[in-house]
């Protein structure tokens, strides 16, 4: 077997799928929820890295919001993603987190463009069990956030997913999330099932052509979510 068959390419010009996980690490997530979230993140890494295309194409960043907004992981390949054990504490600066994630996606796309890398529509995947503590319906940040999410979704800049963990304020989330993709309520603490679904969905995106429509399995059918009424 020749060397060309034996080697792999370190940084191939594969299309990238930028994904930002926005994870609520506020005080209310403490205990079982944060423990299961941590466990699920590690499993997510393993499962996604096991998929040949997702391993090359998913470009992951993690933002936490508990007290302050923190970049727990800047964009990296799934192989380089080292899930740290998250701890919970503080308020829920959800507005700032969403704005930060949107900025990070914009910057990342600029980098892709400058490096000639094709990309899929980025994902913003938010998990929260509370209500925003840094904005109220109708105030300045609130309006900015809603506008950014709705416009981003409408102009196909990114896809926004919101997952509500008990006892999240689903009313507030429904007002932020795009109308075509309302928040999904997590059944119990099925973080693991949810991340399995995310990993599968990302594998599906990674095996698609850039620009192609990808139908994603319904979270209800996948067994971890309910559509919030």
């Amino acid at each position: 077997m020749g060397l060309a068959e034996q080697i792999e390419i370190g940084n191939p010009t594969q299309p990238h799928c930028a994904t930002v996980l926005l994870l609520d690490t506020s005080g209310s997530m403490d205990g079982d929820k944060i423990a299961r979230l941590n466990e699920a993140l590690r499993a997510f890494k393993e499962e996604t890295a096991a998929d040949e295309l997702a391993r090359k194409r998913v470009d992951l960043a993690v933002l936490t919001f508990g007290g302050a907004v923190n970049v727990a992981q800047n964009f990296c390949s799934i192989e380089d993603f080292e899930p740290t054990t998250l701890s919970a504490g503080g308020g829920t600066p959800l507005g700032e987190a969403i704005l930060k994630a949107a900025d990070m996606i914009d910057q990342r796309k600029q980098q892709y463009k400058s490096q000639g890398i094709d990309y899929y529509r980025p994902w913003m995947f938010m998990i929260t069990d509370g209500a925003p503590t840094d904005m109220r319906p109708g105030d300045g940040i609130w309006n900015d956030v809603v506008k950014r999410v709705r416009e981003g979704e409408a102009t196909k800049k990114f896809m926004f997913f919101a997952v509500a963990v008990e006892p999240a304020d689903t009313d507030a989330l429904s007002q932020i999330a795009p109308q075509n993709r309302p928040p999904v309520k997590l059944i119990g603490t099925k973080f693991k099932e949810m991340f399995q679904w995310l990993s599968k969905s990302q594998s599906k995106v990674s095996s698609s052509k850039v620009g192609e429509h990808v139908s994603i399995e319904n979270p209800v059918a996948a067994g971890w979510g309910q559509i919030s009424a």
């Binding site: 020749g2 060309a4 792999e8 191939p12 010009t13 192989e79 380089d80």
Partner: protein
Amino acid sequence: MPSPEPLLKSLDALVFGASVIGPLHLQLNLPCQDACAYGISSTGSLAIAVADGLGSAFMSQIGAQLAVSSAFDPVMEALETDKCEDARLDEIVRGATVSARTALESYAKRESCNLRDLACTLILAVARKARLAIAHIGDGAVVVETGGGLSIMSSPGESEFTNEVVPITSSNWDEHLRIVSNTSPINSIAVFTDGCQRAAFRKAGDVLKPFGRFFNPIFGYARGLTDVDEGAREIVELLKSGKVCENSDDDKTLVVGVFNVG
């Protein structure tokens, strides 16, 4: 007088490699603008020179070849003498880089061309088992494998994401010349031009890391090699392969050296 052909194999070391034209240059009917030279001195030191002529300079293939030969020959000469102590390797690679620059200046003068028409990068590496010295200007890189794994000994520099490589022909070239020396024992070394960078590195954020699944098969292959000419042909096949070329249409050079073989 032409220099004698250097050794490519000693009792316990060997070196092989190649420069290969990229698909874009073939398509545009341009020459290969990469060049390389390598050898092992009778004292057991390994020397590798690689250069990448800038696409924007119309005689850069001449520049690259001249830079390589005029840096490599004095290094091999110095390595053959007893005076070449470990501690002087840095001086030797620096001095040889100055020789390359001087040779380019003389050529430009003699041929009445602009020095910038000869623009190229240059990496000059001298390795012994427990000593390594590198002079590097422009992009490309040097990766070594020690007992502790793979590491970048000389990185592509500040020009990674832009097209602003400072070549050896630049007026402030000496400000951009990087000299690296290292005393950890090395098992394997790879010196390459930027056409190989996508294959050779992984990016973690903005940080480059040598990619194990690229280097490990190559170094493993080198350790099992008996015929260095066959090794050079294998590098040509690798650098011409679809897998490598679909990620870079540029010219490519890769030179590999290993110690403690046989």
